[in-house]
């Protein structure tokens, strides 16, 4: 229901941020994430940053996959494929 894309904050003045999204510079309102700093990665929806993405986001996604696999394997009662 809500498209959102990730980008990096490269300028910040009060709640007005400029976010780099794949080389494009997008003016974004950052009022929803008051703790944001220049250099943070954020998720942008309809001109608003809605959350900060942590640096290890990608690793975290991979970790979730490994965890889910381990939990599922436990349901089969064995370790192998």
């Amino acid at each position: 229901m809500c498209l959102a894309v990730a980008g990096k904050v490269i300028q910040l003045e009060e709640h007005n941020a400029v976010v780099a999204i794949e080389g494009n510079q997008v003016e974004v309102t950052a009022i929803l994430i008051p703790e944001v700093k220049v250099g943070d990665h954020v998720l942008v929806h309809a001109g608003f940053a809605i959350t900060i993405i942590s640096k290890d986001d990608h690793d975290a996604q991979c970790e979730l996959l490994r965890e889910a696999e381990a939990k599922a394997q436990a349901l089969f009662g064995d370790k192998g494929q």
Partner: protein
């Protein structure tokens, strides 16, 4: 093979193995969010799921659940009452009771398509003689921008800016669907970006009451597959719970600042969902203190009426009872070029996604 494809294959194999642990059981998992619907269709997800696992689409396309009567009111606001309507592109072609906003523009209506609410504020500032009405549609993700705009208008004493709210909140609708015995939903793939705002804790009471898995997932096909792995695992182990596979983008308590902003400007009210009917406490209306910025109050508009076109199954499609292909109009009288029902208009509408990304 790319890492992504490798991951897909691992996940698909895992889903296959898990579904074998549930022989004879037909599971219906609902993806609540329209963006999930689009991902599923774009990636051909349905074609690779095991036979006893069905993924059905839910009421999470804001365009699709906005009543036709609301669009009709927006049309009237510009054609009869001189308002300048500013809307997200998503709404432009949705049929109202008599016409769409695009039709109204051809009849001389003032309608501006915007990517963000900032454009509406700018228009109001630069054209003090215009009455600028921003169409506030969507769920918790899309509401903070509308709330922000009202706050800014209030601070700037911008008297010609209004929001016409059709904003809705997700959980009452999800609960209403779980309570409907005709639907028999086995689990929710919960919307990633709504959850960024409301947090996983928001689903706890519902999950405890109905004992159905509720897994928040991102919008890549693999993230959806991962969500399904967790839902199946929960079903097998008999321990339904709320969890997120969208990494730490989704916090337990959600985005507090966004929730605060919504709460400052809006309050809940009963709301009509196209195809579903009125769901108590599922809508957001402007608080009394901001009535000057509420198009509904300024123009004294009644609650929107609803009348579905004959033969259209949108109501059942939105609830996941029928597939688009069950509808006699689908692909014949109703196509993306000539939409009859709302589900065909929005790109993320279930019917449109089925039509556009139908299996080759």
């Amino acid at each position: 093979m790319t890492t992504e494809q490798n991951e897909s294959q691992r996940l698909i194999a895992l889903i296959g193995k898990l579904s074998e642990k549930l022989p004879g059981r037909h599971m219906k998992v609902m993806e609540v969010c329209g963006t999930h619907t689009v991902t599923a269709q774009r990636s051909g997800l349905h074609s690779i799921l095991p036979e006893n696992l069905r993924l059905v689409s839910g009421p999470g396309c804001p365009v699709c659940v906005t009543p036709a009567g609301y669009i009709e009111q927006a049309v009237e606001l510009t054609l009869s009452r001189g308002a300048h309507i500013v809307t997200y592109g998503d709404m432009l072609r949705v049929p109202g009771l008599t016409m769409s906003l695009e039709d109204a523009r051809r009849q001389g209506g003032k309608i501006t398509v915007a990517y963000s609410v900032h454009a509406a504020l700018k228009l109001a500032r630069e054209n003090p003689q215009e009455k600028v009405v921003f169409l506030g549609i969507g769920f918790e993700t899309t509401t903070p921008p509308s709330a922000y705009a009202v706050k800014v208008a209030h601070e700037e004493a911008l008297t010609n800016f209004m929001v016409f709210s059709a904003h809705k909140i997700m959980i009452p609708a999800m609960e209403a669907l779980l309570a409907d015995p005709n639907l028999a939903i086995d689990g929710y793939l919960a919307p990633g970006h709504v959850s960024v705002i409301i947090g996983t804790d928001a689903y706890k009471a519902m999950t405890e009451r109905y004992r159905r898995p509720c897994v928040v997932a991102g919008f890549e096909a693999n993230q959806m597959l991962l969500g399904l792995v967790r839902i199946l695992s929960q079903i097998i182990s008999g321990s339904p719970a709320v969890e997120s596979v969208y990494a730490d983008r989704v916090k337990a308590q959600g985005n507090i600042a966004a929730q605060g902003l919504i709460d400052e400007i809006f309050t809940t009210a009963d709301s009509r969902w196209r195809g579903v009917g009125v769901i108590p406490g599922s809508g957001l209306v402007l608080r009394e203190a901001f009535s000057k910025y509420d198009a509904k109050q300024v123009f004294d508009l009644p609650d929107p009426q609803e009348k579905e076109p004959a033969g259209c199954l949108c109501a059942n499609v939105i609830k996941g009872i029928d597939l688009p292909t069950d509808c006699p109009l689908f692909g014949k009288a109703c196509t993306p070029n000539n939409p009859v029902g709302a589900c065909m208009v929005s790109r993320e509408g279930t019917c449109s996604a089925y039509f556009k990304y139908r299996k080759a």
